[in-house]
Amino acid sequence: MDADSTHDVDARGARSERLGDCLSRAKNGDVTALDAVVSELNPLLWRVARSQGLLAEDASDVVQTTWMELVRHMHAIRSPLALVGWLVAATRREAWRVNARRRKATWQDITTLDDQAGDEPEPVERLLTAERHRILWRLFARLPERCRALLSVIAKADRPDYAAISEALDMPHGSIGPTRGRCLAKLRALLLADPVWSAE
């Protein structure tokens, strides 16, 4: 094991310990102990809600509701690893409720700035000033929807959580972590075939 990965393992161990400590303080009645958990995991839950095709206002509401649900169910959650999986699954479940009664946002909605009040939606690509980012976004868009949902969430996660998150998203076992899985393998192959990406 090289120095870098030893460092990573230490950092992850520390994070896991921190989350576990917050969780047990919250279980003992100090709900403010979850504030740190919110800072740490909200970006991940936002990504989960958006990956399920929710528009921004619905996604925010779904994330809030998930935290309210956590307070009710945290006594059944035993470990920090289980906490991440539980939150991802709960966010997805909440997103389902919304999707069940709304038209599901299309990929087109997500790739244009749906919250902008202007007349013409601005293509997302215009925001990406780096060429490698524009290429990545374009190739990413070619993946099947389930792969996009998985990878957009995994990109925000820590490696030890990959398998639990993949499971919480109801992806087949081995979709990602510890092996690469098909979705990432496909994106990787597309990028390797691209002159800009393969040159780096």
Partner: protein
């Protein structure tokens, strides 16, 4: 359906290139779809809802009911829904960072409506009782807002109640 064991790139362990792809994918998402800046505050406010035995009423619809000539005259209608109750609230901006809230619960019932408004670290609370489900908070601060509806008819008002997910008013 059982598939033959896959051998090939998908079966290899994650390497540094994969980490780089995922890091760049994260960077791209941060640019095109960043998390709203107020989401942490909203989540913390939601965590402080307190009553765990309440049924959660989720945001159902949020619409701008009509914008007046000035921004202050904007009103919005927000609908929350749970299994047992629908709550509709019209939010009007009355200037000076204050709001007037008019709402009703359906089916109509004798309820007490409690409003938490503010932020996770400083909040105020207001309460009105109603016999027909209609309620008014004539002048309350702007901020994050959450409604608790206590049902008087059950005789156990703190057991059968509804709490809404927080909204910004």
């Amino acid at each position: 359906m059982s598939e033959p064991p896959v051998t090939g790139p998908a079966d290899e362990p994650l390497d540094a290139w994969d980490d780089r792809i995922l890091a760049e994918l994260d960077a791209v998402h941060e640019i095109v779809d960043p998390m709203p800046a107020d989401l942490d505050e909203r989540a913390r406010f939601a965590l402080r809802a307190g009553d765990l035995d309440f049924e959660i009423s989720r945001l159902y619809d949020l619409s701008v009911a009509g914008a007046g000539a000035r921004d202050e005259e904007t009103t919005r209608t927000v609908t929350f829904e749970s299994h047992t109750l629908t709550i509709m609230v019209t939010v009007s901006d009355i200037g000076g960072g204050r709001r007037r809230l008019e709402g009703w619960v359906a089916p109509p019932d004798e309820v007490a409506v409690e409003l938490r408004v503010g932020a996770a670290t400083r909040e105020e609370s207001f309460r009105v009782d109603t016999e027909n489900g209609r309620f008014v908070f004539a002048d309350v601060p702007s901020g994050l807002a959450q409604f608790h509806v206590h049902r008087a008819s059950s005789g156990l008002p703190d057991i059968t109640g509804i709490v809404t997910s927080p909204i910004a008013i």
